[in-house]
């Protein structure tokens, strides 16, 4: 399925969308950019931290609310579009539901297990309890209610056409986001035969029953890194941070890197992305699934 079709069909206006679930690596930028191109509106974004992608969607006016622990630009600092939206209501006001990393993971596990809430001691003493009224203190512990995204968009190293995805490196909250979400859109660096994916069922991230679309999108996570494929493009993050300082600068960046680009292939051609391609390969030792 093309990215354009996957976003059109599975990320409607008003959807609650989990992205960036590995934290800094494997962020589905290509999917986010396609949401911007399609003019998606009123999204609720869900993630632990967001390394620039949420900032871009917010700046483009796609976002009504954010449920996250951190929104900014990890190596560069503040998220300028996030600031303009929250401080000035530009291009539109957004509602912020504050979490910490641990508590947003627990919110997704609560949804995954269909628990009414998960109790935890984290957040005790934090004003996050004051600004996110959904987090209640009862009997001295915080109750984190379930968070059910409509869709989790995950970029992975490889998947087959049936949605059996292999993801490696730090997993962040990818597993619980996928299990909590009503549906999963997979973006994969490599589309492989089932012989590859089923040769290692322990590395399959999620049940295929949850996956509604598999998009073969090489380089779809640039400028974030992807183990075995892409280094982090620090320069791109720095350039984005500088250009997004002003609203005009951001509009110029958006035009150049999103709106005037038809798809990810064209983006990568414009970018000369080969400079950040991983060239040192480090294959894992195989596991033996022998059975008889």
């Amino acid at each position: 399925m093309t990215m354009a079709e996957a976003i059109r069909r599975f990320v409607p206006d008003g959807a609650t969308v989990a992205m960036g679930t590995c934290l800094e690596p494997a962020i589905p930028f290509a999917a986010g950019h396609e949401m911007i191109r399609q003019g998606r509106r009123d999204l609720t974004l869900v993630g632990p931290i967001s390394d620039a992608l949420f900032d871009q969607l917010i700046g483009a006016g796609c976002v009504a609310a954010v449920r996250a622990a951190w929104v900014g630009n990890v190596s560069e600092g503040l998220g300028h579009c996030y600031r303009r939206a929250t401080e000035l209501g530009e291009p539109r006001p957004i509602r912020v539901y504050d979490y910490s990393n641990f508590s947003i993971s627990l919110a997704l596990w609560a949804a995954a297990w269909d628990a009414p809430y998960l109790p935890t001691r984290t957040l005790l003493g934090s004003d996050i309890l004051r600004t996110n009224p959904e987090l209640q203190v009862v009997d001295g512990v915080v109750r984190v209610p379930p968070l059910r995204p409509d869709v989790a968009v995950l970029h992975v190293q490889r998947s087959d056409a049936w949605g059996r995805a292999h993801l490696w490196g730090p997993l962040g909250i990818s597993e619980e986001a996928g299990l909590a979400a009503r549906s999963v859109v997979l973006c994969c660096e490599e589309l492989v035969d089932p012989e590859i994916t089923l040769s290692d069922p322990n590395r399959i991230l999620l049940p295929e029953t949850r996956v509604v679309a598999v998009v073969h999108e090489p380089g779809g996570c640039h400028p974030s890194p992807l183990q075995g494929h892409w280094r982090r493009d620090h320069a791109a993050y720095r350039a984005y941070a500088e250009r997004s300082r002003t609203r005009e600068g951001f509009r110029g960046w958006l035009e150049e890197w999103v709106l005037s680009v038809p798809d990810r292939r064209a983006y990568l051609e414009r970018l000369e992305a080969e400079a950040v391609r991983v060239r040192v390969h480090r294959p894992s030792a195989p596991a033996d699934y022998g059975d008889e």
């Binding site: 996030y82 401080e87 910490s100 993971s105 627990l106 005790l124 730090p170 997993l171 992807l226």
Partner: protein, 261 residues
């Protein structure tokens, strides 16, 4: 802000060295962003060869990769990791009290060690929207002890933060954390560009412990947003050793974190 013009190191390099010395051998350290990533690398390669690092995105390591890391998620940080897993598993160790030391960055800290990384001004219409907690609140509440690193400016070291993202010693009254159910021990030090502030073992209010070379007690007090407690004897923060500087410059060869303006 810089140390004396002739100093053979930058203020950030001194902060990294000071932070590294807070890591004891054999400890499990929850490493945050930026300077703490370097501090772990320095400690691991000098006095704390058996210190392990835990990264909230889902990694445990027993050595610093010899490559520049702009983020904990850069691919070299995954190679030869001891564990690549889910964030909730890393948080489990912290919730169990297994994390000896955590690092948290912050925009504002107050005399009781409370950190604000969320909102300056009314949260409903903030003057400045900061990125938020990330794992900061979790580290502040759950790790056995923690440290924050910060530029020493009056607008950053404030009397009381307007928003407590990551709780320190609360209102500073004895037993505040225990009374409020926070399992971890709270902040033990604030490492700034000018000084190291510490907290008494029982918590409460920060005091000046050491002043970095090139700065004075008066300067530190003037740049602190509350009436900073100064004991009779204030040490001079030891300068980074040649070995420490060597490691810092190997781990941040272009000075992204330690020699930027």
């Amino acid at each position: 802000m810089s140390a004396s013009g002739s100093a053979p190191y930058t203020p950030q390099e001194l902060m990294v060295a000071a932070a590294a010395r807070e890591i004891r051998d054999g400890e499990l350290v929850f490493v945050g962003m930026r300077l703490p990533i370097l501090a772990y690398g320095v400690a691991r390669n000098t006095h704390a060869p058996r210190a392990r690092a835990l990264y909230e995105l889902g990694l445990m390591r027993d050595r610093a990769p010899e490559a520049f890391l702009a983020t904990m998620g850069d691919p070299p940080n995954v190679v030869a990791a001891l564990w690549a897993t889910r964030m909730s598993n890393v948080m489990a160790l912290m919730a169990q009290g297994q994390v000896d030391l955590g690092f948290i960055g912050g925009a504002e800290v107050d005399r009781f060690g409370n950190l604000n990384t969320s909102y300056i001004g009314d949260p409903a219409r903030p003057r400045v929207k900061l990125p938020g907690s990330g794992g900061g609140a979790d580290i502040a509440i759950l790790s056995r002890r923690w440290i924050t690193l910060m530029a020493h400016e009056p607008r950053r070291l404030v009397e009381r933060v307007s928003y407590v993202t990551s709780p320190g010693h609360g209102d500073g009254t004895p037993g505040w954390r225990r009374r409020n159910g926070l399992p971890g021990g709270g902040p033990v030090a604030i490492v700034t560009t000018m000084a190291v502030l510490r907290f008494p073992p029982e918590g409460g209010e920060a005091y000046l412990d050491s002043v970095h070379p090139g700065h004075s007690v008066e300067e530190v007090r003037a740049r602190t947003g509350w009436d900073l407690k100064v004991p009779d004897r204030v040490r001079s923060t030891p300068a980074p050793t040649a070995e420490e500087l060597g490691w810092i410059r190997r781990l941040d060869p272009e000075g992204h974190w330690t020699r930027s303006p």
